[in-house]
């Protein structure tokens, strides 16, 4: 299976290392022999028609260099050209998320599909902005489109619902979908410390971005909710349809008052027909959504199975490579390449 990696950051490098480390496992257990034939980022591309040898690949991933600085790379803005012209089966779109425009991922995915390549992405932007359009384009081009890694990191919630629970109608989705806010709320509860202080700590630990607004004001959760709503509830939802409140106003006193009543405060995304909302909610301790630290959790309400909940790590290169690799193996099984 010939792969193009678009974006060589945390996830691109993480996936590269996973593919190299699991080479034997993938071949023996899954019959999958992935070959990375191109790595490309904004300013450079490295193409190797025989597949980049895995030892070299790991060294490159560990070096942390931009693609243009890698031995044998070409310099220049040649992303679209590479996606289009290099012969490959699958494009893995792993560039930064922009939930307003969907770019640059949206363009990359379209180019890939139009040149008859299957697409796997972890990028929420294109899905939030143009879910329906991309879904339709994939169908009309006859290519596969997978995005397990875009929601919940390692948690295979989309594939769980679509495959193993395929006989059910999903009626409602509730989730703790943002590790950063969950970490902050957990620490506020443990330390009795105010929001600002814990946010600063999270930033120092690399758990929160310098501009934390996407996470703490609820937009990241809303974006993931929109993806789940489109893919599992079959509702054509957009970000503007979500009523969003974040966690800036939460006090440690409120967390304590909730805990004294047997509840935890979590940033919860909830979706059902006619209602899309992200807001802080109390969750009874001991319920599946009452996960602590940076964990994520999703509860699906279903017509047959009633309720299914799933919990796990919502981010991290290694954890998320589990979802990317899952999609890859799924394509391998579907397509036989």
């Amino acid at each position: 299976m010939r792969l193009i990696l678009v974006g060589f950051g945390n996830l691109g490098r993480g996936l590269g290392i996973t593919l190299a480390e699991k080479q034997e496992f993938l071949k023996k257990r899954q019959g999958l022999v992935p070959k990375v034939v191109a790595i490309v980022d904004e300013t450079g591309a490295l193409v190797n028609d025989d597949g980049i040898p895995s030892a070299k690949f790991v060294a490159m991933a560990r070096s942390g260099k931009k693609v243009e600085k890698l031995a044998g790379a070409k310099k220049g803005e040649i992303v679209h050209d590479t996606i289009e012209k290099v012969a490959a089966d699958v494009v893995l779109e792993l560039t930064p998320t922009n939930i307003k425009t969907g770019e640059p991922g949206l363009g990359h995915i379209k180019t890939a599909m139009k040149s008859n390549k299957h697409v796997i992405t972890s990028n929420k932007g294109p899905l939030v902005v143009a879910f329906k359009e991309l879904d339709a384009l994939a169908k009309s081009q006859g290519v596969e489109f997978r995005y397990s890694a875009s929601v919940g990191g390692a948690i295979p919630v989309i594939e769980l619902a679509r495959k193993l629970l395929a006989g059910n109608e999903v009626q409602e989705i509730k989730g703790v979908l943002n590790g950063t806010t969950n970490y902050i709320l957990t620490r506020m509860g443990e330390e009795g410390a105010p929001f600002d202080m814990v946010l600063k700590e999270a930033q120092e630990l690399g758990m929160a971005e310098k501009d934390p607004s996407l996470d703490i004001d609820g937009f990241d959760t809303a974006a993931k909710l929109v993806i789940l709503t489109n893919s599992l509830l079959a509702i054509n939802a957009k970000l503007k349809d979500v009523k969003i409140a974040g966690i800036r106003k939460i006090t440690p006193e409120a967390i304590k008052l909730a805990r004294d009543a047997g509840q935890a405060i979590k940033l919860v995304g909830a979706a059902k027909k006619g209602m899309l909302e992200v807001s802080p909610k109390m969750v009874p301790l001991g319920q599946p959504l009452a996960v602590s630290g940076s964990l994520n959790a999703v509860t699906l309400k279903l017509d047959l199975a009633r309720e299914i909940s799933i919990t796990g790590f919502g981010a991290g290169p290694k954890e998320t490579s589990s979802s990317l690799l899952g999609d890859l193996i799924d394509l391998h099984r579907t397509l036989g390449c």
Binding site: E253, A254, A258, D260
Partner: protein, 168 residues
């Protein structure tokens, strides 16, 4: 209001009728009857749990008196008067936006009562936090109360956090 009582009945025919007839006569609506045969008392009486909806406390007292008159021993009035309880948290300028008024407006809804309130102050000028328990005599009035509290919170710029528990 909804009431749960446990009474002990002799294991002979006609006993249950004696117990439920006054409930019906006083306008009560029986929602459940459960014989607890496995818990038969040493004197051979059978505990029976009865759940019913009845107008108010006064009518309930009347009913209890009638049962007593009929020779029926009520051993438990299940957690006395149960209702639909909802726990909420409010964050913001709770006192300055007139907490008394907030509570009064909720208590003004028929069948709704703010049954518990804990307030935690923070540093001067900063947001304080409160936990408020709202007890209502039915699902419907409970939902009405939450809706009202949502309106009030918007007006007073308070953050309202409701619980997933008991949410439809």
């Amino acid at each position: 209001m909804r009431v749960k009582i446990v009474m002990e009945l002799r294991d002979v025919p006609g006993q249950l009728t004696k117990a439920i007839e006054p409930v019906a006569r006083l306008g009560g609506n029986i929602q459940g009857i459960m014989h607890q045969r496995e818990r038969k008392t040493p004197l051979g009486r059978i505990p029976v749990m009865l759940v019913f909806e009845i107008k108010d406390k006064k009518t309930l007292e009347k009913l209890l008196a009638e049962l007593k008159k009929n020779g029926i021993a009520v051993t438990q009035i299940g957690e006395s008067i149960r209702g639909v309880k909802r726990t909420t948290i409010l964050i913001g300028h709770i006192i300055h936006t007139d907490i008394r008024d907030t509570i009064d407006r909720l208590n003004g809804i028929p069948g709704v009562r703010v049954s518990d309130m804990s307030l935690a102050m923070s540093e001067l000028g900063k947001d304080s936090s409160a936990r408020m328990t709202i007890t209502a005599d039915s699902e419907g009035s409970s939902n009405l109360a939450i809706k009202k509290l949502r309106q009030i919170s918007e007006q007073k710029d308070l953050l309202l956090i409701t619980s997933l528990e008991g949410e439809e």
